[in-house]
C-alpha cells in the first residue's frame, strides 16, 4: 500500500499502469493533458519484450479512438482520455466499439461547453455519456468519480467491467476532479486477466478466423445483434449499479448529485443539518446503469429531491423518471464553468422549503 499526493489526472494515469493497461492513445486537450504527459513519461519504463506496452500521441482524437479499436480488437487492455470537444470527435469510434463489443476505457475530463466553451469544469456531457453519444442504440458503462482516489479506483474497476461485459466503459470526470490534488492510495486491487478467444491475434489452424466488425447488413441479423446488446445492458443494470448515500436514513430533503457537484452537496447537506433541516445526499456512482430503483425507494420517505449539476439540467431527467411523480424533483445548476458554493445550494433548498410550506 502506497499513499501519495497526486493530481486526479495523474492518479488516473498511474492507476492505468498498475491496472495492466497495455496501450494508451491520446491527444492533448485541457484539462486532461496530464494523463498523456504522465504516461508518455512512465509507460516506457514498463515496456519490455515480454510485455509490450504502448503510449502514443495520435494526430487527433479520431485517430486515438480508432487505435484503441485496433488494440482492443487484438485483445489488449487499451484506453484513451480526452475532454469534451475531443470526446465529441471520438463519438464515431465509440459507436463502432460498442457495436463491435470491444472492451476499452475512455476517460472524459468534462469541461464546459458547447463548442470550444471553456476549460473550467462542467457536467454538460451527461446526456452524451449516458444516452449513447454517437449514432445507434448502445450504452457505455459510465463511472463518475468524485475524488482523486476514485479517479484511480475506477480505472481498475473500469477495465474489469469492460472485459467482463465486452463493452466500452467511460469514466466521466470533470476539470476540477482532474486538476485537484488529494491523497490517493494504491495497492488495493488485483489485476484480473480475461481470456479473449475472439481477439484478432492471427489465425492458427486450430480455429476459424476471428473478425471484429459492427456491420450486419441483413436487417434480421442486425436486429438480433441489437437485441443481444440490450440483453447485455439489462444484465449490467441488474449487477453493476453503484451509489453512495450520506445521511439519507431520516432525510426529508435529499440532494442528488454526482462528481464534483456531489462534493459540494455533501458540504451543503452538513450545513443544512446545522440549520435544523433534515438533509441528506444521494450520489450515483454509475451513471449507467443508473440507480433508479434506490432513488425510487428514497422517494417513498423523502419530501423533496434537489438535483444539483454543472449544466442546464440533464441528470435531473433521470431522477424524475426514477421518482415517477412521487415527490417533487427540483433542479439547481450553474453553467459555463461556474461552480456553486454550498451556501447557494442551501439557500436554494431553503427557498424551496418555504415555497412548499406556503402552498
Amino acid at each position: 500500500m502506497e499513499t501519495k499526493l497526486m493530481k486526479g489526472n495523474e492518479a488516473l494515469a498511474e492507476a492505468a499502469i498498475q491496472a495492466g493497461c497495455d496501450a494508451y492513445f491520446g491527444y492533448p486537450i485541457t484539462p486532461q493533458s496530464e494523463v498523456l504527459e504522465y504516461l508518455a513519461r512512465e509507460i516506457p519504463k514498463y515496456n519490455t519484450k515480454e510485455h509490450i506496452r504502448v503510449v502514443l500521441q495520435a494526430e487527433s482524437e479520431i485517430a486515438s479512438i480508432n487505435m484503441v479499436y485496433g488494440a482492443a480488437g487484438a485483445g489488449f487492455r487499451a484506453m484513451t482520455s480526452s475532454s469534451s470537444p475531443g470526446i465529441s470527435l471520438m463519438q464515431e469510434g465509440i459507436s463502432y466499439i460498442a457495436g463491435a463489443e470491444l472492451p476499452c476505457l475512455i476517460v472524459n475530463v468534462n469541461r464546459a461547453g458547447p463548442g470550444l466553451g471553456t476549460i473550467q469544469p462542467g457536467q454538460g456531457d451527461y446526456f452524451q455519456a449516458t444516452k449513447g453519444g454517437g449514432h445507434g442504440d448502445y450504452k457505455l458503462i459510465v463511472l463518475a468519480p468524485s475524488s482523486v482516489q476514485e479517479m484511480a479506483d475506477f480505472v481498475f474497476l473500469g477495465f474489469d467491467l469492460a472485459d467482463k461485459y465486452r463493452n466500452p466503459v467511460m469514466i466521466l470526470s470533470d476539470g476540477a476532479i482532474g486538476q485537484m490534488m488529494e491523497k490517493v492510495t494504491f495497492g488495493n486491487y488485483t489485476v484480473h486477466k480475461t481470456e479473449k478467444p475472439w481477439a484478432t491475434t492471427g489465425k492458427p489452424e486450430s480455429r476459424g478466423r476471428n473478425y471484429i466488425t459492427s456491420l450486419h447488413i441483413q436487417p434480421e441479423k442486425l436486429e438480433e445483434h441489437n437485441l443481444k446488446l440490450i440483453e447485455k445492458y439489462k444484465e449490467i443494470e441488474k449487477n453493476e449499479v453503484r451509489y453512495e448515500e450520506i445521511m439519507t436514513e431520516d432525510a426529508e430533503y435529499i440532494f442528488v448529485a454526482y462528481g464534483l457537484s456531489a462534493r459540494i452537496c455533501h458540504k451543503a447537506a452538513i450545513m443544512a443539518r446545522e440549520k435544523g433541516i433534515k438533509a441528506g445526499m444521494f450520489r450515483p456512482i454509475t451513471l449507467f446503469p443508473y440507480p433508479s430503483e434506490r432513488l425510487s425507494e428514497l422517494a417513498d420517505k423523502a419530501k423533496l429531491f434537489l438535483t444539483v449539476e454543472l449544466n442546464a439540467g440533464q441528470m435531473v431527467e433521470d431522477v424524475r423518471l426514477a421518482v415517477n411523480g412521487k415527490i417533487s424533483v427540483e433542479f439547481y445548476g450553474r453553467l459555463g464553468g461556474m461552480v456553486p458554493n454550498p451556501e447557494e445550494i442551501v439557500n436554494k433548498l431553503e427557498n424551496l422549503i418555504s415555497k412548499e410550506n406556503v402552498s
Binding site: 479520431i62 487505435m67 480488437g73 492471427g202
Partner: protein
C-alpha cells in the same frame, strides 16, 4: 417428359459418349485423377461467392493478397483491416483474422494492432474515398510515423459502394454522379496523387503504383504485394501499394472497356511503376534474415 424429348436426350447422350470415345482415342483422358493441378484458388481465400460486380478489380486483388500470404506461409501471423467502401466485406473472403474499420480509419486501427504485436504482418485494404478523402489525415500520419504495415490502396477514381460519386482521385473532366458535367478543377481541384505525395515522407519505405487490367500487370502487382509483406520483417517503414482498379458498373463500361480505359486514360494521371524503392543496403539485410526473396 414427352417421347420426343426422351428421344432427343438419348440422342444427345449418345453423341456425348461418341465424343468421349474420340477423345480417348486421341489419348486425352477425362478421368479426373489423371489431371495435374497447375493452378488453384489459394487456401487462404474462402470458397464463397463474392459480392463484387463482374469484371471488378477487387476480387482479383483479394486473391493476390491471399496468394502472397499463402506463399509466404504467414496466415497465422497476418491481421488485415478492411475499409468502408466496396471492400467492406473483405473479411468475408480472406481467411485471416481481420478488423473492420470505420470509414477512413483503417490505418489508425492497423497502428493499434501493429504497435502491440510488432511481429505480426498487418495490412490495410482501402479505396480512394476511404484513404484519400475522409482518411487522408490518418494515411499521412500513419506513414509519417513509419508504421511497419502494408497499405493496399485501390484507386478506381469513384466511390463505388455508394454508386459512383466523385472521388478525390476522379480524373479531370471525368463524369460521375456528383460531377455530372465532368470534374471541374475550378470547383473541385485536381486528382490527388497519393503515392507521389506520401513518397515524400521519410516514413514511407516502399511505394509503388500498379494495375490488374492485364496479365503482365497482375504479375507485377503480385510481386509488389509479396515484396511489401516481406519488407515488414525489416521494420523500416510503411509499404504502400496503389493499384489502379476499374469500376465497370460506375464507369458505365463493359469490363473490357474499363480495362482499356485504365491504359488509355487513368495512367496519364496515375503513371504506373515504382515511386520509391528500398535501398540495396536495406535489401541486403532482408537477405541476411535467411528468408528467400519472393522476387
Amino acid at each position: 417428359m414427352s417421347a420426343e424429348e426422351l428421344t432427343i436426350t438419348e440422342k444427345s447422350d449418345k453423341s456425348i459418349s461418341a465424343e468421349t470415345d474420340t477423345l480417348n482415342a486421341t489419348g486425352i483422358s477425362c478421368a479426373e485423377d489423371e489431371y495435374s493441378v497447375v493452378y488453384e484458388r489459394p487456401h487462404t481465400l474462402l470458397d464463397v461467392n463474392m459480392h463484387y460486380c463482374p469484371g471488378c478489380a477487387h476480387s482479383l486483388v483479394h486473391k493476390l493478397i491471399m496468394e502472397a500470404v499463402e506463399e509466404l506461409g504467414i496466415q497465422e501471423n497476418t491481421i488485415g483491416v478492411a475499409p468502408v467502401g466496396c471492400a467492406v466485406f473483405a473479411y468475408d473472403y480472406m481467411d485471416v483474422d481481420m478488423q473492420e474499420a470505420a470509414h477512413g480509419r483503417a490505418t489508425a486501427v492497423a497502428t493499434g494492432i501493429k504497435r502491440l504485436m510488432p511481429d505480426k504482418y498487418v495490412f490495410t485494404y482501402q479505396g480512394d474515398g476511404d484513404l484519400a478523402a475522409i482518411g487522408i489525415a490518418e494515411t499521412i500520419h500513419t506513414i509519417n510515423r513509419g508504421e511497419n504495415i502494408m497499405i493496399v490502396f485501390i484507386n478506381n477514381a469513384v466511390y463505388g459502394m455508394t454508386s459512383g460519386q466523385m472521388a478525390p482521385t476522379t480524373l479531370v473532366g471525368m463524369k460521375t454522379t456528383t460531377s455530372p458535367f465532368g470534374r471541374d478543377t475550378s470547383v473541385y481541384g485536381f486528382p490527388i496523387k497519393v503515392s507521389e505525395l506520401i513518397s515524400q515522407l521519410p516514413g514511407s519505405f516502399y511505394v509503388t503504383r500498379q494495375a490488374v487490367n492485364k496479365n503482365t500487370a497482375v504479375r507485377k502487382t503480385k510481386k509488389a504485394i509479396l515484396n511489401a509483406l516481406n519488407y515488414q520483417k525489416l521494420n523500416k517503414g510503411t509499404c504502400f501499394i496503389e493499384i489502379i482498379g476499374n469500376c465497370p458498373s460506375n464507369w458505365k463500361m463493359t469490363p473490357v472497356e474499363s480495362n482499356n480505359f485504365i491504359d488509355e486514360q487513368m495512367v496519364k494521371t496515375f503513371p504506373l511503376g515504382d515511386v520509391k524503392l528500398p535501398s540495396a543496403e536495406d535489401l541486403k539485410q532482408l537477405n541476411q534474415t535467411g528468408d528467400k526473396q519472393p522476387c
